[in-house]
Subunit: 575 residues, 2 copies
């Protein structure tokens, strides 16, 4: 394809709304165009990258026995009412009424559709296991679209669903799928992708993993043990703390004026934050009722774990009303009149003489002992955020490192959540009715493209791995009005195409600087420069976009040399 | 792929809701599954057919310089407000509010998105012409989904948009696109596809064509001249009638009791229907105002032409209220007090002594002469339906044949409707601002698949052309538990796959009758039967699904023979 024919504009200045490099490059390089919050159109270079990633995903899914199918984007609400998610999912699911006033939804995931497709026909154990997948458009009314294709509302996703007759079979397949995902990232040229234990969230099920591309701009926080294999999304990471078993002392109320924060109290009493008890107030989304979490003063609350423990949605308390009995800044578990559910983090175990709020303005207790002073038995739960240097929940060593990652895939062992609620059954060997066990496996195609761009770029543009690059070779003909240049460049263009190479050809009448700047934005791995000077020497200049090579080849053998280079580039990403 | 692994069920009885063969076969053969009115999921065989058609379309679009892009499914209403279609399109467009109460729509066509993608960058005449296209999911809230994939609400469509700086350039490109469409149908194996002149409807623009697959189950009615090249959708066909120039007679009121219909009147007066004047009453959708069409008694009103003439939506009058002054059954243009717009069809030209209603119960006029009796000048317009045996609007011969067709594609010369309303401009050679001229070109992928099935099947199932068949060869191993059978069938399966052939392999333990019935429903063009009896003779039985071949080949050379057959099948659909 000729650059002159490509619809799109390339330019130098990063748009103001682009806060991360991949977004800026993909706008500046003419890959995508903003239409609405979290909604983009793709130009041809962007579309080509998507198609290449899709082809890799398709191949790996087929290799593990996947059957490609297609589910609808628009589905009847009734299907989602069966699973219970029509009500349990909030405003991130787009809903509308059709012309006959039927309630419809836009698919943001397709567990319901997968069960619908299979439930009437997979009735015997001999029909199992099987996996169906699709690559299609999804819409999720994301409240905080950001980073270009990193977090959007409309996106292309590969979603796969497997069905099994035993947990063992699911677990085996889950491993195959984990491996297939590793293959996908390797082949697509995503270098720093790790899999971490994850929180299953609205998907249901117990075991799940996320594939995280490590990146400073990642929105997910990961806990990684440097001593063992433990890797977890912070949301799902257990926070181990050592029981303190401190000395029991008498309860005493002390005057602590103006000490509404842990910092202020710590300073006032000259006690380290970790020896204080902090209270954090939440409200339940459903009824605004208060929930107070008591936790060691130096720790933070992991809201996902809290949410999972409560089994419902919560948010940090917006306002604390006097009639609640909660005395903001001086909240404590002892002698409290607060109308609130009280949660005690495990970090408080053994904190036998506790500093905590006295539920009275400007007063705290010291020496509080929950077993003695709380008045009823305390249940301790794990709702603390793991932290840098914390003990690893797996090996126990204090070796937890905190990193940021972009979620580029996830896999879930769903169990029977959907087959039970939607009444999908089969007859087992003994003629007994059973619910199939499901797994589901997702990859966002656009996010993966953007993440790879984020990982693989320099100051001038993306450095696309050849396996997903919009084109494999770019020919820059400097002075295509020169007959020799045109003849040589044209012939290389033709020859490479005849050999099945995808070639981008720039024969525009622009300055070399402008042409090279555009080439950097196209990010094509192999670049061939044909110029009058080179023609005189009967050479072409060949370089790699990642700057690992820049050399001259004889014009006579250039095509063969380029084909070799292309082959070598592909080998880098072979399994 | 092995039949035993394919998710899907094949069965004998056509479901009650399937009124056409292609729908029944695609349900019975496990191609698709109903989810909601006009909304289906596709199983793997259905998905594979779609992908093959898409690949053919993509190739032909690329050959005429098309650039594949991707537009969003969900778009902001504001974009459609720019073009005016947010209000002009009715309930067939799905609309919803997102979480921030922004009005959104689901794309049913993407002219607005195409202009949005191009308008800020194609600012110079040197950027033109170009064509962008996508293959993607669309949703149209169709009031009368029917026929399986023939008419659905959610569908996969290839939609292309070209932009030009002159009408001549558009017209040239339009021809290229017309040719590309012919290629697509040929390659996909659709045999009886013709292009007809069409009505441009809500798309705007003047010249447009539809590609029609001729079929009794088609919803479109076509006027085709058997003497010249004229082919038109009836909606867009001019109806030529010869001026009558009948003798002028005096106006006379006659008593015609109980003659409320043309048939009754014709019989009562012993006058042929074609010598009477018929009145047909409509109402405007906007304000319910009446419109009366006067037309020759033997002709029908073409509502599309009437709608286009009026420039607004109309419907047949639901009820005629007395205060309208319209005397139902006795409506005539002379001495009328009707509060209605009167339209005179061209078929009335020269009908100098007309029989028409006298606007009085049980009375008609004879000898009415519009020029003399109507009281003001009459404008005659063409709103009649063309009919079998009518004069051809092109060559004039009475050679019009009426046929039915399924619309499998359409192409429009849009002009500047969208670029003007959405303010897309470029600077021409002289630095003058101009609006680009657009064309648009659509093909529904699923409908094409279903139409080909409708055209190409026998009593037992689809006969897929090899270019779009879900698989190219099916191996039926009768008694795969027989070692010899298994060994031979396995080796043919492996060898064919190594040679790049897509093979379906049935090694299930089922009766031959059941296996062949399933094979007929899969519709795979080349069938290979391996059985104990054949093994003894060291042969395999090879047949074509269309029954044009059934023969035995030596097992030793079978793979080569099958490869030859596959090649020949492909040649049938080569350009």
């Amino acid at each position: 394809m000729k650059v002159r024919n490509i619809l799109g504009e390339r330019f130098k200045e990063a748009p103001k709304d682009c806060t991360i490099e991949s977004h800026a490059f993909m706008v500046r390089g003419g890959y995508m165009r903003y239409m609405s919050n979290g909604i983009y159109s793709l130009y041809t270079p962007g579309k080509r990258i998507m198609q290449k990633i899709e082809a890799i995903i398709r191949d790996e899914m087929d290799k593990i026995g996947g059957q490609e199918v297609m589910f609808p984007v628009v589905m009847p609400a009734s299907l989602w009412e069966e699973s219970g998610r029509y009500t349990s999912i909030g405003s991130e699911m787009a809903r509308f009424e059709d012309r006959s006033k039927n309630k419809m939804v836009l698919g943001m995931t397709h567990e319901e559709a997968a069960v619908h497709l299979a439930r009437d026909i997979a009735n015997s154990y001999t029909d199992y296991p099987f996996m169906i997948y699709q690559i299609q458009t999804k819409f999720r009314d994301e409240p905080r679209a950001r980073g270009g294709l990193i977090r959007v509302r409309e996106f292309t996703m590969k979603d796969a669903y497997s069905f099994h007759t035993s947990m063992e079979d699911l677990q085996e397949y889950y491993k195959d799928c984990h491996k297939a995902y590793e293959n996908i990232y390797k082949r697509a040229g995503a270098k720093n992708v790790i899999s971490v234990k994850s929180d299953s969230g609205m998907m249901g099920g117990s075991v799940s993993h996320e594939f995280m591309l490590l990146s400073d701009i990642g929105e997910d926080t990961l806990a990684i043990c440097t001593e063992c294999d433990y890797k977890s999304n912070m949301e799902a990471a257990e926070c181990l703390t050592e029981p303190l078993n401190s000395e029991v002392k008498p309860l005493e109320k002390v005057h602590t004026p103006e000490t509404k924060t842990i910092e202020a109290l710590s300073e006032f009493l000259k006690i380290e934050e970790k020896d204080l008890c902090k209270a954090v107030v939440y409200q339940k989304n459903a009824d605004d009722k208060y929930v107070i979490v008591f936790i060691r003063g130096d720790l933070e609350v992991n809201e996902t774990k809290l949410r999972n423990y409560l089994g419902e949605e919560i948010h940090p308390a917006v306002e604390i009303f006097e009639e609640s009995g909660i005395v903001a800044g001086f909240i404590g578990p002892v002698n409290s009149n607060a109308k609130a559910e009280m949660i005690f983090d495990k970090s408080l175990i053994g904190m036998n003489n506790m500093v905590c709020g006295a539920n009275e303005v400007d007063y705290h207790y010291v020496g509080a002992n929950l077993a003695r002073d709380y008045g009823k038995e305390v249940e301790y739960v794990d709702v603390a955020k793991i932290y840098e240097g914390a003990a690893c929940p797996c090996c126990g060593k204090k070796a937890i490192k905190i990193e940021k990652g972009i979620e580029v895939g996830n896999i879930f062992q769903l169990g029977t959540k959907y087959t039970k609620s939607m009444n999908m059954t089969y007859l087992d060997k003994d003629g007994k009715q059973q619910y199939p066990i499901m797994g589901c496996y997702g990859i966002g195609v656009g996010r993966l493209a953007a993440s790879i761009c984020q990982e693989s770029h320099d100051d001038y543009g993306p450095i696309w791995p050849i396996t997903i690059a919009p084109w494999q070779v770019e020919i820059c003909a400097l002075r295509a009005d020169n007959e020799q240049v045109k003849a040589l460049a044209d012939s290389i263009y033709d020859e490479l195409q005849k050999n099945g190479v995808e070639v981008l050809y720039d024969d525009r009448d622009v300055r070399p600087g402008a042409m090279f700047a555009d080439a950097d934005l196209f990010g094509v791995p192999v670049r061939v420069v044909v110029s009058p000077k080179n023609c005189e020497k009967n050479v072409v200049e060949i370089s790699l976009r990642d700057k690992s090579l820049k050399t001259e080849f004889s014009a006579d053998t250039a095509v063969k040399d380029i084909l070799d280079l292309v082959k070598k580039e592909f080998e880098k990403y072979a399994l």
